[in-house]
């Protein structure tokens, strides 16, 4: 096999995998704080993309200048969602709360394109389209930027969970009632997680929106983010990183090598197989914490 | 109701024999060579400080944490490699230290599941309920009503199990275990969180169960007054090691036991 070919596939795959991990990061944050899997994470990413487009095209800001505005707005949206919707569900069974986030996803999918239009929007961050060449290997610049941003955010999250605030968040995810009993403002902790998730979602939406254009399909990254988050272990940030790389590289390599043989888009299936197998071998994902069950 | 002097080890075959059981978790040796023998109809006490391995012992017997070394024999059968549900089928029932009732089910249904191993439930009987499942349901229901009567749970029969008080929940768990008609009943701290009166009730139920069904009982309890009164034989563990075994009154007087477990404070009496 041709090394340059495999190398190019692997590198671009890894970068895309990091991007998936960025979507997954929001899911993991919220899960760690509240034990809820946020199915609206994809729709939040879509919203971030739309808001960026609106800021850029309506307020006339250049793409990159709109970014901080959008991140702030999405932080606020995350907080608002927690305050208005999720807070009232505290203490309910996780599956119900997950369903509520699905409701949020559907609503955002209606509201946002309803207001700004469902046709695909152009979002230009000023990232050049010319590829970077690594010897014979062609690396997508936008992926490079996206991968770097994801990596930075994920590392920041790893650091964060070592701080006191991080411990508090972990405590909240362990036992909300106990957290209340020792004076932790559980609502604030969860709201913070939602706010940050809004930011990571917006980053994802903006980065990918600049690659493919902004429309509702950005919300489909939910599935990839979810897969990566679960593969890594829903409550593990470092796990995200590894899982993102695994999924990205595998999708890319297997897709590249197998598709010509079987004549089909095997990528999604391969990702599905990897997830299935990994979860069978490691039931709590690669790095997920084991549920402590004392009998 | 005079149990055949179970303290004498001359009784022919023990029902349960644990021979030099060992079990560790990671680096922690939770059980270091523990052996016990329980005879039919005997109430065997197992005490020790928190974390001394009592629950682990129960888990080793019931197949949750199979021993790393040593052997468990029940009614002459080697339990090695058997899954918990297979062991349950052989006639061992237990309750849990931290209640493990099925939430979302009524008290009645919780006790009815105790009959599981005497039933043959499946999807098809349910599909043809009137002729297939109903007769069996009613038969087992009658048995369960006896248990309910026995443990005086009539009032709460139809309540969802999670809303009744803890003490009653413990009783329901006992009822569930009894409904299985076990030969060996393992009770892990059945009286935790009970007041005097409730403890007396529970004590009575345990004795009655033994007397009525001839069940052997392995009892873990921190209430020493209860333990000394009910058990025929007592084993004390600390750090996974047996430090004393024998007649309960005699055992609790040993200085080692007092030092490691009892202390000398006021709770001695309680």
């Amino acid at each position: 096999m041709d090394m340059a070919f495999a190398g190019e596939l692997a590198i671009n795959g890894a970068l895309v995998g990091l991007f998936y991990a960025l979507v997954g990061l929001g899911i993991v944050l919220i899960y760690k704080a509240s034990g809820v899997v946020n199915l609206a994470q994809g729709a939040l990413a879509m919203t971030g993309g739309y808001v960026a487009w609106a800021a850029a095209s309506m307020a006339g800001l250049p793409g990159w200048a709109a970014v901080p505005v959008v991140l702030a707005a999405m932080f606020a949206l995350g907080l608002a969602l927690e305050r208005v919707v999720l807070r009232r569900m505290t203490g309910e069974a996780p599956i119900m709360v997950i369903m509520v986030t699905l409701g949020v996803e559907i609503m955002l999918r209606g509201v946002v394109p309803g207001i700004w239009g469902a046709d695909v929007k152009r979002l230009d961050l000023g990232i050049g389209q010319d590829p970077v060449f690594l010897g014979p290997m062609l690396i997508n610049t936008a992926y490079l930027v996206g991968g770097a941003v994801s990596l930075a955010l994920i590392l920041a999250a790893v650091v964060f969970f070592g701080t006191l605030q991080g411990i508090v968040l972990r405590a909240v995810s362990d036992d909300q009632v106990a957290a209340w009993s020792v004076g932790i403002r559980v609502e604030h902790a969860i709201a913070l997680a939602w706010g940050i998730s809004g930011v990571t979602a917006a980053s994802a939406g903006i980065l990918w929106g600049s690659v493919q254009g902004v429309d509702w399909t950005l919300s489909l990254f939910l599935v990839k983010g979810l897969a990566v988050a679960i593969l890594g272990g829903l409550d593990s940030v470092p796990g995200l990183l590894v899982a993102g790389l695994v999924v990205g590289v595998a999708e890319s390599l297997v897709g590249g090598l197998l598709d010509p043989v079987v004549g089909g888009g095997t990528r999604d299936v391969v990702a599905a197989m990897i997830i299935l197998l990994t979860v069978l071998v490691r039931p709590y994902g690669l790095f997920g914490r084991v549920h402590i069950e004392r009998v | 109701m005079t149990p055949a002097d179970p303290t004498s080890s001359s009784a022919p075959t023990p029902l349960l024999v644990c021979d030099r059981i060992e079990r560790s978790f990671g680096g922690l040796k939770a059980l270091k060579s523990v052996s016990i023998a329980i005879h039919p109809g005997q109430i065997f006490g197992l005490v020790g400080p928190n974390g001394s391995g009592k629950t682990t012992m129960v888990n080793a017997i019931t197949g949750f944490y199979p021993p790393d070394a040593g052997q468990v024999r029940f009614a002459g059968r080697d339990l090695r490699g058997l899954k918990p549900h297979r062991i349950a089928r052989l006639g061992i029932a237990r309750t849990f230290q931290n209640l493990a009732l099925f939430r979302g089910m009524s008290v009645l249904d919780n006790i009815l599941v105790g009959r599981h191993l005497h039933m043959r439930p499946g999807a098809l009987p349910a599909l043809f309920y009137p002729f297939w499942a109903r007769p069996a349901e009613i038969r087992h229901r009658a048995v369960v009503e006896e248990v309910i009567d026995f443990l005086q749970l009539q009032d709460v029969r139809d309540q969802p199990v999670e809303v009744i008080p803890l003490g009653l929940q413990k009783r329901v768990e006992l009822a569930r275990a009894l409904a299985a008609e076990p030969r060996l009943l393992i009770l892990d701290e059945p009286m935790a969180g009970m007041n005097q009166e409730e403890k007396e009730y529970m004590a009575r139920f345990i004795l009655d169960a033994r007397d009525a069904f001839g069940t052997a009982v392995l009892l873990i309890e921190h209430h020493m007054d209860v333990v000394t009164a009910l058990t025929d034989r007592l084993l004390v563990l600390t750090y996974g090691e047996p430090i004393a075994e024998g007649d309960p009154h005699e055992v609790i007087a040993r200085p080692a036991v007092v030092a490691a477990y009892l202390g000398k404070g006021r709770s001695r009496a309680a």
């Binding site: 596939l9 999918r109 239009g117 690659v211 493919q212 254009g213 429309d215 489909l220 590249g256 888009g265 | -």
Partner: protein, 395 residues
């Protein structure tokens, strides 16, 4: 009752899911054209009404909308969605409802004898692919013989559809065909394009819709595929070029079955008589886009069918049966230059399969050829075989 003088068309379409990239423009064109005709007093004593519903690309909602529209008395249903159209075929066939599957739906529906009630009225994907290859064959020096052609497609029945045509033509024209599927919806295609680059194609065809197309176009550019050697079917629009970058997209080729731009007379008329009076069904800037004009063109054809039906028998109300007969008697209709001259017959529901190649010049689509149809013998061989297969097995 004057209800008899109103002819209703059902437009259950996908405004919220997979087809969002086309539906609103297409539907705007359809309704603006009906406004134009109504503004002029209608045709043969009837005026028109469009009943629009969203089915979100979900078959069950499409079926509900279909049944509802049927009850409302529509004479045609245009679902603009492959899955929904497929789910409607058995019903339309049983109910004798004109199911319009313009630019969507099964290719073998071109066979009117097998599918009397399914009317594509537009070049099916097989015809489109054949035309694209035939164009490439013409403009390459020495034809396609010995050349390499890459086909990069969305891995769905729609994307796989051209494969038999391409394979047959590869054999006939002597080029090497490389096929590169990417999974739906195509947000991420880098691995695919790495392979394409290594295949070193002389020509590349991309086949997808919406973001799949923009991402493909971007990746093609990035991987150094010359844009004037890159072509696709009807699903590439001004807004796609906009997203990729007007300049970056320059030169890319597409097959168009309806003229784009504002020059065609009907579009100019709409601007003057509908939009200028504030009766436009959508934003003015969309008037004259490729998808908008597709909506106009197909509606023009349906209205022409109504005209023919009423010319043959002016009794009102008009029925679906008579409209079907009217539609299949359209001869050389070109909607004043908007369409290639189109002839529909009870046997041929496709209408000739003609279109033309157009290139993006940085601001608009510019025609590179005249209207032409290619390899219709081959296409019809496939159509007949598939239709035969359907009749035999129901597949």
């Amino acid at each position: 009752q004057d209800a008899d003088t109103v002819v209703k068309f059902g437009m259950p379409q996908d405004f919220t899911a997979v087809y969002t990239f086309v539906t609103s423009e297409y539907n705007q064109g359809q309704r603006d054209y009906l406004s134009l005709v109504n503004g002029r007093g209608g045709v043969g004593g009837v005026t028109f009404e469009a009943l629009v519903l969203d089915h979100g690309n979900q078959p069950q909602r499409g079926i509900e909308a279909y049944e509802r529209l049927k009850k409302a008395g529509v004479l045609t249903v245009d679902a603009l969605s492959t899955p929904v159209s497929r789910a409607l075929v058995p019903r339309a066939m049983a109910d004798h409802m004109n199911l319009l599957t313009t630019f969507s739906g099964r290719s073998d529906a071109a066979d009117g004898t097998t599918f009397p009630w399914v009317i594509p009225m537009s070049p099916m994907y097989w015809s489109q692919a054949a035309a694209v290859v035939s164009y490439m064959n013409q403009v390459s020096e020495g034809g396609l013989k010995g050349k390499k052609l890459a086909y990069v497609y969305i891995d769905s029945p729609f994307g796989r559809e051209p494969l038999p045509v391409l394979n047959a033509l590869a054999e006939a024209d002597g080029f090497e065909l490389g096929t590169f599927p990417y999974p739906s919806p195509g947000s991420e295609q880098s691995a695919v394009w790495t392979q394409v680059r290594r295949f070193r194609p002389d020509w590349t065809i991309i086949w997808g819709g919406g973001i799949g197309q923009t991402v493909a176009l971007r990746e093609a550019v990035r991987n150094g595929i010359p844009r004037d050697r890159l072509a696709t079917g009807v699903w590439l629009s001004e807004s796609d070029a906009e997203i990729v970058g007007r300049e970056q997209a320059k030169g890319v080729l597409k097959f168009e079955a309806v003229a784009s731009g504002r020059e065609p007379k009907i579009i100019a008329d709409i601007l003057a008589e509908v939009v200028a009076k504030g009766k436009g069904a959508g934003p003015e800037e969309k008037v004259g886009t490729a998808y908008y004009n597709m909506g106009v063109g197909m509606m023009a054809m349906v209205v022409e069918g109504v005209r023919l039906a009423l010319a043959a028998d002016p009794t009102l109300p008009l029925t679906a049966e008579r409209l079907n007969a009217g539609l299949t008697s359209i001869r050389d209709f070109d909607a004043e230059g908007l369409l290639p001259p189109t002839t529909l017959t009870p046997e041929d529901h496709q209408g000739g399969g003609a279109g033309r190649m157009a290139a993006w010049d940085g601001t608009r689509w510019v025609a590179k050829t005249d209207w032409f149809a290619a390899h219709q013998d081959l296409v019809w061989k496939l159509v007949r075989a598939e239709a035969e297969h359907y009749r035999k097995t129901g597949e």
